[in-house]
Every structure is written in C-alpha cells, then in structure tokens.
Symmetry: C2
DNA sequence: AGAGTAACCAAGCAAGCGCTAGTGTAAATG
DNA sequence: CATTTACACTAGCGCTTGCTTGGTTACTCT
C-alpha cells in the first residue's frame, strides 16, 4: 500500500498519471489505462497508491509544491521595487504553469474530484501560494503602480494567467516571459 | 427520438441537465440521475435525446446562443464610443455568465466531452461570439484607450472574465456590472 | 544461505454504466 | 371512429468500472 511515501518510482508514475488526466480527464481515465501507460497491470497500481483518488491528490500536490517553491525563489532573488516583484511573480506563475503544465491543468480543472479530506489538505498549500500574490499586489497598489480593489485585481490577474493554458502555444513565437510582461504592462498605465 | 426539435419540455429538461452537469460534472452524471431529477425513468430520457452526448450539446448550444443574442443587443443599444462599447461588452459577458450560469460553466469546463461533430458545429457559434469581442478590442486599441497586442489583450480579458465563475458570489455586495467596470478601469489608464 | 521487502501478475467480483426493446396510455389529428 | 403522435413505463443486455485476492519474482541486507 505504501502510504504517502515519495519513492522515485511513485514520482514517475505520478507524472504519467498527470499526462493521462490532462488528455482524458480524471473521470474518463481508468485504472487500466493508467496501468498500461505505466507498463504494469492494473492490479499492481494499488501497490503504489491506495486508490484512484490518491493518484489525483499526488498529482495536484506535486504541482502546487513546485509552484510555491518557484514563486518563493523568484521573489527572494529579485529587487524590492514593487514593479519588479510584480513582473517576477507573473513570470514565475507562467514558468511553473508551462514547465509543469500537466499537473497544473489537473489542479485547475479537476480539483473538484478530490475527496473532502484531500481537498482540505491541499487547500492550505494553495492558500499559501495565493498569499504571495496578494502581498505583491498590495505593494503595487500602495506604490500607486496599479489601481483598483486588491481583491478584484488579484482575481482578475490570476484568472487571466490561468486561462492561458487554454490557448497559449509554447512552441509559438512568444515566450511565457513575454506573456507575463505584456499582462503587467496592460494593467500598469505608467509603463505605456 | 425527436431529432433536434425545441419542444418546451426538452428546453426544461436541458435546464435541469445543465444544473446536474455543473454539480457533478458531465462524466459523473448518469442517465439515471438525470432521469430522477426530471421526474421520469431513465429509459424515457431517450425519447427526448438521442444519447447522453446530445444532452450536453443541447446545454452548450442553448447557453452560447443566449450569450450571442445578449451581446449583440447590448452593442446595438449603446453609443459608438469605443470606451462605452468596451464596457457594454464586458457587462453583457458577465450578465449572461451569471443569469445563465449553469449552461456557461458547462460550456467552459465540459467542452472537451463533446464528440467531434457537435464540437465543430458549436465552434462556429463560439467563434461568432469571440469575433464581437475582437472587434470591440480593436476599436479600443485604435482609439488609444488601451495598449498592447490585440490578440493577447482579448485573451487576457476573456480569461479574467471567464474565471469569475470560480470565485464570484452574486449574492455578495458587488454586482456583475461593478465587476465589469472595475476590469475595464484596470486596463484603461485614462480612466484612473 | 536465509529473511525481508518492494514490485508485480492473473483472475475475478460486485456494482454501475449507457442504452435498447417492447408495451401502455392519453391527447391530438384525419 | 380510426390513427397517429408524444410521452412514459418495465426489464434487462452487454460491457466497463474501481478495487481485491492470493500468489510469484527479483533484489537487498544480514
């Protein structure tokens, strides 16, 4: 059963599961499909994960942990000016969104399939991440860089960024950093 | 079988289906659940719809048709200034998003469950709606109201608006019109 | 060499799935 | 009056689902 460990094998299986969940959706992905993709039989799957739910939780946890780490690192490494920090945060968001794309698409669109216990646990991680955003937005507001309600601005910005997974093609001419910079420019009158 | 008619009975059933699809997700909603919610037995369902897929298509078609009608009416009724039109479009978007909430949530998050034929047909409707947006954004850009790439701006704005279904509470203090105005203000430096 | 353990497999169960076939009935239509 | 149409029912087929069981292999550690 292997409760909640982080063996390298399990990590690899989680990565494959994320890919399938994105391709087919969580509900349409059967344990037999997962097993085949992993090169094992469906019964063997339950040696690594207690049940299908736990696979979903593992995928989302992995992605959210990574997002949190990358954002913290980005903020640590950049200057103190609110404008720089805002741009850094937007860049970090898109960076993690597209290097860890599968996990994040699952987190964004399959969250509701989590059972209440897993959802509660993972909500804390998610809240920690959003708190970083709100702090950066607050500083930008206070510095007069942007205007509006702190709550609304952060929701709008996060919405615009998250929605990119629906249309952005990383193989196109624009880099994720370009996208982040354009969004920040769009909401920042002074940089026009 | 009742191919593709629009009887009042079928319209009501479509409305109920939309609600269930939002609550449970399309895949988790069984034909037996749908039938029970409609007060009939599961076998009777297939008198109104050819199969489960057709119910999904009916829900999405209904919502998208409404959105298109409301947006066209809003643009017809308002002045010609780009700023007014931009605000009107944003307001119309949120109005339809929350009066017809169930259908739109399904359209946004269950689109991929459509079979290719239905998807192709409904894509045309959706493209017609997005064309309205791009035209309005183009005018606003040309008038110097906003700045940036036309493609990116419309994607960001639509993303921010669509994402509201994830956090906005219509019973709260803010009206959808407030939301629309705040978003437009956020991206329009001159109105600060 | 022997013990322990992680990883796997074949087989299958109980439940639930979308959907079909065939029938009954009341209202509209010729 | 006879027929059609719309809507609902019962019963169940054929299949897939998540998950369990009981056992085997391969590797590591003492």
């Amino acid at each position: 059963m292997n409760v909640m460990n982080a063996s390298p094998r399990r990590k690899e299986l989680t990565r494959l599961a994320a890919q399938l969940f994105v391709q087919e959706g969580f509900d349409r992905t059967t344990v037999r499909m997962l097993a085949q993709e992993m090169g094992i039989k469906s019964g063997s799957l339950f040696h690594h994960f207690k049940d299908k739910q736990e696979i979903l939780a593992a995928v989302i946890e992995e992605g959210t942990q990574n997002a949190l780490m990358i954002a913290r690192k980005a903020l640590d490494e950049c200057a103190a000016e609110p404008e720089v920090r805002l741009r850094a945060m937007a860049r970090a968001h898109l960076e993690t969104l597209f290097t860890d794309r599968n996990a994040h698409v699952v987190a964004l669109f399959e969250w509701r399939r989590l059972d209440p216990a897993a959802s509660a646990h993972l909500s804390h991680l998610r809240d920690a991440y959003e708190a970083l955003w709100v702090a950066v937005i607050d500083d930008a507001l206070e510095a007069g860089l942007i205007h509006g309600d702190r709550f609304l601005v952060s929701r709008f910005v996060l919405g615009a960024l998250n929605w990119t997974v629906r249309w952005y093609d990383p193989s196109g001419p624009r880099s994720p950093d370009d996208l982040a910079d354009e969004l920040v420019a769009m909401i920042m009158p002074t940089s026009a």
